[in-house]
Symmetry: C2
Subunit: 336 residues, 2 copies
């Protein structure tokens, strides 16, 4: 028996080593990328649930901006629950799953393949039913993940998807070290942030573009470990309605991406501040800082989530919970 | 000056008449559908924000199950903020917006057209910049909407998208009368539900398949009118993490679709009940009932949202707010 939070803490700390291992194996992912290129798919559909769904959302932005192909998140239920058989010729179907075991992902991937799609599984288990169901396969090599709240499999999925969709291992070489330094900064800063939210009941996370998946994943971590009512909104969607419910009693965590996406967040934060909102910033020079060194903007999401994982872990412990074993959840979630 | 909630109440009540008007004009939408068919797009991208984003999500399910084409929700920011220029040949780009005025939708639609997409605007303003930017145009004919919280434009968008993507006016003929009867049921039932949530701070909505857009839209209505921390999850995603935060203190509103999607919700509700959750059901024989008569399953979402609009309106008044003018919001939301 481990002590409260021991598993999740170990897996958070393991991430730089996982990223190194994956980079060393980048040649294998490049082969899958080449196999995809030979088939020149014209549209990409991404299928995932939970944490992996946020990695899929990250991949969607990459595919649209780097590969310049239209991409969308699939609704597995149209294939499984409604039994639809769409025309998937020229479609690349990418299923992302830590366990590779969820029946609806396996079934929808099998169906997508029957409907003509080129199918790729991105999982942490090369022996899983999902890996067998798909034509191509990427192992994210994160090692067994024991805590229910996914951490190292998320960042490994992000890096694997980056390498699969146009990124190069050479450009990503500084990532493990930047992750190590970001975790060091978080050791001091995350507990301070956790004290701020000790008695909060709700929380809003926000980000734009590539930072939006980070906001989504942070909200999920806070929900599943600390039982906070955490809601994620893209900076743009926040202004369409949800803004009304944010007053000085609802804290906001803003993930600040670099460049144009960061500038697009400025008017959002301004509106929030006008309403008296309490804002915590994640980013270079933020309340939760990142060590980005020479990491390309496209990989920033791998770093952004790290202090937020540390925050969720610390807050869960402070509130008397066990982030390794949240109530009501199990590691492999079976949905149909 | 109108009294609190007067505008929203009038627009909720107007919906059966709006649906009738739109059905009478179905021939015009059929012409747009035919123009799309002639170009035989292979992939559909839907772009929208806020309430219209939920109508877009509804259309995505329809396109996948009825037209059997792959479809995804677009991220306008990849075209606007990141300046990407993807290959959109064979893509149908559908922009849905009540006002047709949000700059990022106009810009991304213009760009999508330049990148080769066939573009269609679905708006409540045929003179809007978005309607001009798109090649084809569907007017949802809801009339001027004055309350900030959208109601009649939402159900009009749903019906317009149904008619655009495979539905027929003849099959939909019973819808206005079913809407009228559902609103009558809601007159009695929504105030009872509103009392139940008078002092709730958070709330979770859930649905699966075609009922999931209803869950999303209900959560938005409750956020923007009653300032509740309302979170929507698909039934499947709920089991992947968020389940942990739902105890007997977090009420759940479950939208129960007919058929296979409804059966898929059963295990979700079972898990929620095991955790002591308080569940309110929306559907035939639910706590908030629908009069579905001979309305096809694909149009059920038009009815499902009605008692939830009534609930949001009543709850906002009970809590001392003004659903016509939520704090911090304006009718046309400009995002870039």
């Amino acid at each position: 028996m481990t002590s409260r939070g021991e598993l999740m803490a170990a897996e958070i700390a393991e991430q730089p080593a996982v990223l190194e291992r994956l980079l060393a194996d980048a040649g294998r992912i490049a082969e899958v990328a080449e196999a995809i290129r030979r088939r020149s798919p014209r549209f990409v559909l991404l299928a995932a649930r939970g944490t992996s769904d946020h990695a899929a959302l990250y991949a969607k932005y990459l595919i649209e901006t780097v590969l310049k192909r239209p991409a969308g998140l699939a609704s597995p239920s149209t294939l499984t629950v409604y039994g639809s058989r769409p025309d998937f010729r020229d479609v690349l179907w990418v299923a992302v799953s830590q366990s590779g075991g969820s029946p609806d992902l396996v079934d929808s991937t099998t169906t997508a393949r029957e409907c003509g799609a080129l199918t790729v599984a991105v999982t942490n288990n090369a022996e899983s039913p999902l890996a067998s169901a798909a034509e191509l396969n990427v192992d994210v090599l994160a090692g067994v993940e024991k805590a229910v709240a996914a951490t190292k499999t998320y960042t490994a999925e992000l890096l694997a998807l980056y390498l699969l969709f146009g990124g190069s291992a050479a450009v990503a070489a500084g990532l493990p070290q930047a992750a190590r330094r970001t975790l060091e900064l978080g050791e001091d800063e995350a507990p301070v942030a956790a004290r701020r939210y000790r008695f909060a009941d709700r929380l809003v996370t926000t980000g734009r573009g590539l930072a939006y998946p980070t906001a989504r994943e942070a909200a999920l971590k806070l929900m599943e470990t600390s039982y906070l009512g955490a809601q994620a909104f893209s900076g743009a969607d926040l202004l369409h309605g949800p803004l009304a419910m944010i007053d000085s009693g609802v804290p906001v965590v803003a993930v600040m991406p670099p460049g144009a996406a960061g500038s697009a967040m400025a008017p959002v934060l301004e509106r929030l501040e006008q309403g008296g909102a309490d804002i915590l910033r994640v980013g270079v020079d933020g309340d939760l800082q990142l060590a980005v060194d020479d990491v390309p903007d496209e990989l920033r999401p791998v770093l952004e989530i790290l202090p937020l994982q540390q925050l969720a872990w610390r807050l869960a412990l402070d509130r008397g919970g066990d982030p390794d074993r949240p109530r009501g959840l199990s590691k492999v979630t079976a949905t149909w």
